[in-house]
Symmetry: D2
Subunit: 456 residues, 4 copies
């Protein structure tokens, strides 16, 4: 079969013949051969799609455009995304006219509505129409993933991204998400995605996965969306324990002996992973954790404590800056001297060193969480921002909680527990969002105060 | 338990304590007692909901507002809808500012985006947030149903309705709809809705329903939406036959002998019903019929003909006007004379009369379908508009196809068959939508020509 | 299509061509035409089936025999059942040989095994092979239902029935039964069977059914079997209440206000119905009630009391005999005098009469339950035998608990509550089964003692 | 918690208190501690279980016995199995009495029935009652697996095994088996069993499994049983191809390019594995293949050829015997000379050698399949017996079809294709089972004839 050009003839033919059965044809073409599309074809298809009123033709055209995008070269794809920015923006003349009308007649509902319509970038409607194609939602999520890779070099694409976000927020609203438990009876095609997407503590292989899903004291839950049926959008891994853990290694030990879940008092959220880069910025984690807490409470009434065991991704870099900062508010020269051993590999092997560093690091960590801000004035640590923003409380600092290479590198092994207490979650959340107040346990606050006192 | 005022104290309390568990509390209140809300409370809740940034509090507030709406008096509800029109429109000052910016700096992306945001009625965001409450989508569909009842007397509400439509089109887009077969193994809670919603040929009782669903030569399909799980949004009833039927009674006869579906050549869509008045104007029927045609073809390859057996709701009224119109292009005085018997009950009982009327009525019907227009210049018959707009072809006129009281009243018993031919459906649709060309069989066209010739 | 004789030619043809696709052919023949079989054909098919070693041919022959049975005349069917008794019994000669071997060599395992094989009626193997046909189990259950109708007039068939029971006990053992909740979301094809099979308090129509299944304080559960998927074998209807009920009418009142199931303390089993006459004597009720009690306790921990509200089907007849018995141990002449009003319709309308009869009837009822025996020396009341045999306790006598025509006729309105207390159920059951001890509440025992004292 | 003796006190307690809730207790004991049972306890439990009439107590006792068996030592288990043989056989005295009755009164139905009952080993009823425990069926299948390991050294156990087989044939009859497709969306807990149980061409790991299940031109089907829900009893792996394959390696090649299943003409059954050693001798394969053929034909009407690609496990040993046999009917001295190279590893690497051996080996193979018999006079090859017994036809000999180590060892690389042709399957099966006639293609027969001619 000769390679195929996605040319005008094809397009014309498509328009004249595409019934729904055309899907199969179209799919066949794109799968079994090596079709090509001409430069500019995609944008042209987009224009045609926007100009048609008929729904059925619209679906066929949407399919054709998405199929064409799939087989396009990287350059053609980028060109199409740029066309979205440049050719599918708002309609200037219509805006002008609407403004004139308002100038003339005042802000009548009709005039404002016309203004609103005119100011809406035409690509929003285009994206909506593309979404009607079978598989359209998944294709658009992938398209945005690609778009995000170009934004920093092509700032014009930022506006396109805004429109994607606007629509995705609507299509992926909480009401559409379905919580499902993921365990060892879950279909393999979903489980292989858990292996692939786990972002916090990598899953080595199927045996490792099994040891996280199959034991009676382990749980995993994910949010699914009706249009992306085989894809968990986000998932959380949970360990049921008898106390708040202080380190990750014992939780992941494949040889540990499971406990009876009826005996557990504590649910530990030790890993939360988003899976779709194309859904960046559409947040699900907040809803996920709260619903899992509620479901677990129902299933296991003996559970009284819901905590995370979380990484501290920004700590090592921040501490390095403090050590280099003569005016550090948290480290004095003596501290810095002690901490200089951190630059030597293997410092964790010497118990005396480990003991000496501990109080200094914990005090610094308390400061990092309670006082440090990033350039935009926000709480410095991104994971802390997420959990505090959800209404959790900073509960405990876990010195050397993660001594893996990654753990030592990003936080000198520091981990923390955030506690989700349903009675306080709303007020914590409000206080944090509205006033920036950080909920923290007495122990954490004391680590800060002690240190400041000691430094005095 | 004393009746409860949905007052500020309650609201305050709500805001400070509402976790997700609050749902249960809230549900309890609204179900088991007779809570009341104060005048203006709903709009105030709306303002609060829009002003909050926290997602979780937002869900609780959305629940509270919808629960309050549920228990409000009819007057309070209308007042809330009017508040949506008046208090939750676009922000005039922001529009002014955006226009100023454009005047000063030109149409930069940022300026146009700000303009677009400002011109969006604030109720759109409010409705989006209400949709996040559990059961929110269903509650909003009911709210719009109520809204539609007020629009003609309160024209301001038209703008509110536009926003509902804008959002519903997005939430109920084709991609979210799930086709499901409905048969005698379908859960009873869904079947009772089929009984309730059947709009074309009323279902008398469960035995009648059984006779439409259980026989091997009957099918029924509906579209379902993930957020309205027990509600078919639209459904179609299908009879499998050996020829194109000319009347409805034999299809519904409870004593008929079913045929083997493998022997059937024809699928007859004899009833299509939308179920949610609150989704008026969001069209699903087009997609439904086409997908059912495809599914049936796959299941029963022997099926070659897909037709409707449809009512002609506007025909009797139109014919009455023709009879009264001296300049009628379709009826001459002799015709009118013959037709005068139509005013007498029981005219269908006399075979001679029936025979005499037939050619005149069929010729008038051909004219009605092919030439008559409504005030807006559209094809006169609403059912014809639907099927022709879907790409169907007007296939056959069925004289006295429905001699029930309802049938005689709306169309003097006339029914028609529209034919769905997958090979022509796209081109018919395009021709109809873009140029107003009506696809009709030779037989129907001939009925028109013959008559015109005869009249000459 | 000419009517078809199920003759030898057909049979021969069948044997030579029947692959699994033959099923369709066969099904077609038996459904769409009016095939006949010759006298003796069924028994002959049975012989052939037993003589074949091939599994696949066996399935086809089993299908043919069952299909033939389906279309046979009543006389042919009876003749086949009699053939089962006479021609498919044990093999006498083989028994003789086996006995000879034992006489010669003693009871070696091989000899005893040969004896066992020889003594097994050949119809057992025949029934096992019939069971391999698609739909075989259902067909055999129907066959036994028919068989039971003939047993009293054809005592030879008793042996055939024994073999059916032997096999059914194995195929329908508890391990295969699946408990499923039946509610208003259950498929209609199953619900219509609930209407049809309800044996205790007839269900009038779908509205009545709905009022028993849909309210939040109602439950229904049934046992299903993997080979009879659409048929509940037995089901129980449950009302959730705040106290032990004393009458059936309030439970079935369509206008009653449901209670919140979380508020209920008591689960009332007010109707238990077996559905398959062909499974008579294979008992499921015991397991059903106990599993439902366990499931309800898990779902609603607030439930503390599990009782029935049961009819007393043998009471009226027994009381009539006591009234006629001069030596009645429970009624003295004065009692009989009072009770004479029972013969007059409408006695329940006069409050004074009702009051006067009450103590006499309750004392008689206590005697009936605690002392009366049937001819085989068993507890007289069949429903009592069932529940006491299950380990329940006779809890309360409900005077005029069922004033429907049926209730008055069978028990002068008397109902009773049996209590299922999981802590006592095993010991009650053992005591009843092994020693005939009846578990009864103090109140019931007192009704007996009081009366005896009063009579002295 | 101290280790626990499963002693009389426990047993007594069990009997007096075991309600269904006792299950949990019991399960808890056996899982979380290290309970022990006394010698002889199991047999005693068995006696008690048989002596009880109560169903509920029976279930509890059955659970106790199976739980006790689970924790027993290997010696105790064997002792229990031997007790089944010795203490739970038929009742000699009852047999004597029954024989006496027959001698006296002749073979009345009652007498024969009593004889049958007496001759039935009591362990049959014991096993039936054990089957009522939750998980009983699975436990009994494991028990028989263990039993099979002892039979050769303890011939008395053969009788126990016969009873297991008798009951398993009934419980695992075709009617209860459910065919399910196994693919990459199947739950992982089932897939890991596919990996473990694959007996023909070992599955290396999850990637290998994926390459057999996920591609569009691969299928896998298994039979499941309602009481062993997570266990496929048998499964078959299928490749869809465009021709009958001659070697296994290309089918399993992970890098092969899948074909469109709509293009396939041939379904190749390349692996069939039984999974439960405890179900040895209960045959499912026959039904499985035929049902899969039917299902595939329905799904993919373009499939016209259904063949296996099968190993020849007995060929190498048989050929070795022929080479050593001076009177071999199939190898003459020259042949033997050529074949002597087979003893040298790597003979397949030399094309000339490979060519020279081919005609000799194929002729020998034709003889092996068509003429060779085992000691019991059956077709020599066990795989051939299975497929020919199912009605398949020996279609093609595949020289060097499997050059893996295992393939070379068991058959010098020879594989064969058996063809399942639905039109001939019944008659082939009958001819083979009743008369020993082997269905073989002309090509295979010709390989035999040619050689014989050549040898002459």
């Amino acid at each position: 079969m000769p390679s195929l050009t996605f040319d005008r003839a094809f397009l014309t033919n498509l328009l004249s013949t595409l019934t729904d059965r055309g899907r199969d044809l179209l799919r066949g073409l794109t799968q079994s051969a090596a079709p090509r599309i001409a430069d500019g074809e995609l944008a042209e298809l987009g224009q045609t799609l926007l100009s048609r009123r008929g729904e059925a033709t619209g679906v066929a055209l949407a399919q054709a455009l998405l199929a064409g995008y799939e087989v396009a070269t990287p350059e053609q794809r980028l060109a199409f995304l740029e066309a979205l920015a440049e050719m599918f923006g708002p309609e200037s003349e219509a805006i002008e006219r609407a403004i004139e009308t308002i100038r003339a007649d005042g802000m009548t509902p009709a005039a404002v509505s016309a203004l609103h319509d005119a100011a809406e970038p035409r690509r929003q409607e285009l994206i909506r129409r593309l979404n009607l194609a079978p598989g359209g939602t998944a294709a658009l999520v992938r398209m945005r993933e690609e778009l995000l890779g170009h934004v920093s070099e092509h700032p014009l694409l930022r506006a396109v991204d805004n429109d994607f976000v606007h629509l995705f927020v609507s299509w992926f609203n909480r009401g559409f998400l379905v919580l499902q438990r993921i365990d060892w009876t879950t279909p393999a095609n979903i489980l292989e995605k858990i292996i692939r997407y786990e972002a916090v503590h990598a899953i080595q292989n199927w045996d490792d996965l099994r040891s996280r899903l199959a034991p009676p004291d382990r749980r995993c839950y994910g949010f699914f969306h009706p249009r992306l049926v085989d894809e968990p959008l986000i998932f959380v891994e949970v360990a049921l324990t008898k106390e708040i853990p202080a380190a990750i290694a014992p939780l992941l030990d494949p040889d540990r002996v499971p406990i009876d879940p009826q005996q557990a008092t504590t649910a530990v959220f030790y890993s939360i992973s988003n899976t779709q880069r194309g859904l960046n910025g559409i947040s699900f984690g907040n809803f996920l954790i709260k619903q899992v807490v509620e479901d677990l409470k129902r299933e296991l009434p003996n559970l009284t404590t819901f905590v995370t065991l979380s990484p501290v991704p920004g700590f090592a870099a921040w501490l390095a800056r403090q050590r280099a900062d003569e005016a550090s508010p948290v480290l004095d020269p003596a501290d810095k001297d002690v901490l200089s051993v951190l630059d030597q590999p293997g410092w964790t092997d010497d118990p005396a060193t480990v003991d000496k560093i501990k109080p200094i690091m914990l005090a610094a960590a308390a400061f990092y969480f309670l006082e440090a801000k990033d350039k935009r004035g926000r709480v410095a640590d991104p994971v802390a921002r997420f959990h505090l923003g959800n209404g959790a409380r900073l509960e405990k600092l876990d010195y050397l909680g993660d001594t893996s290479g990654k753990g030592l590198k990003q936080s000198y092994g520091l981990m923390v527990n955030y506690c989700y207490d349903l009675d306080d979650i709303e007020s914590n959340h409000e206080a944090f969002v509205e006033k920036g107040i950080i909920a923290a346990s007495t122990a954490v606050r004391k680590a800060l105060r002690t240190r400041v006192a000691g430094a005095a």
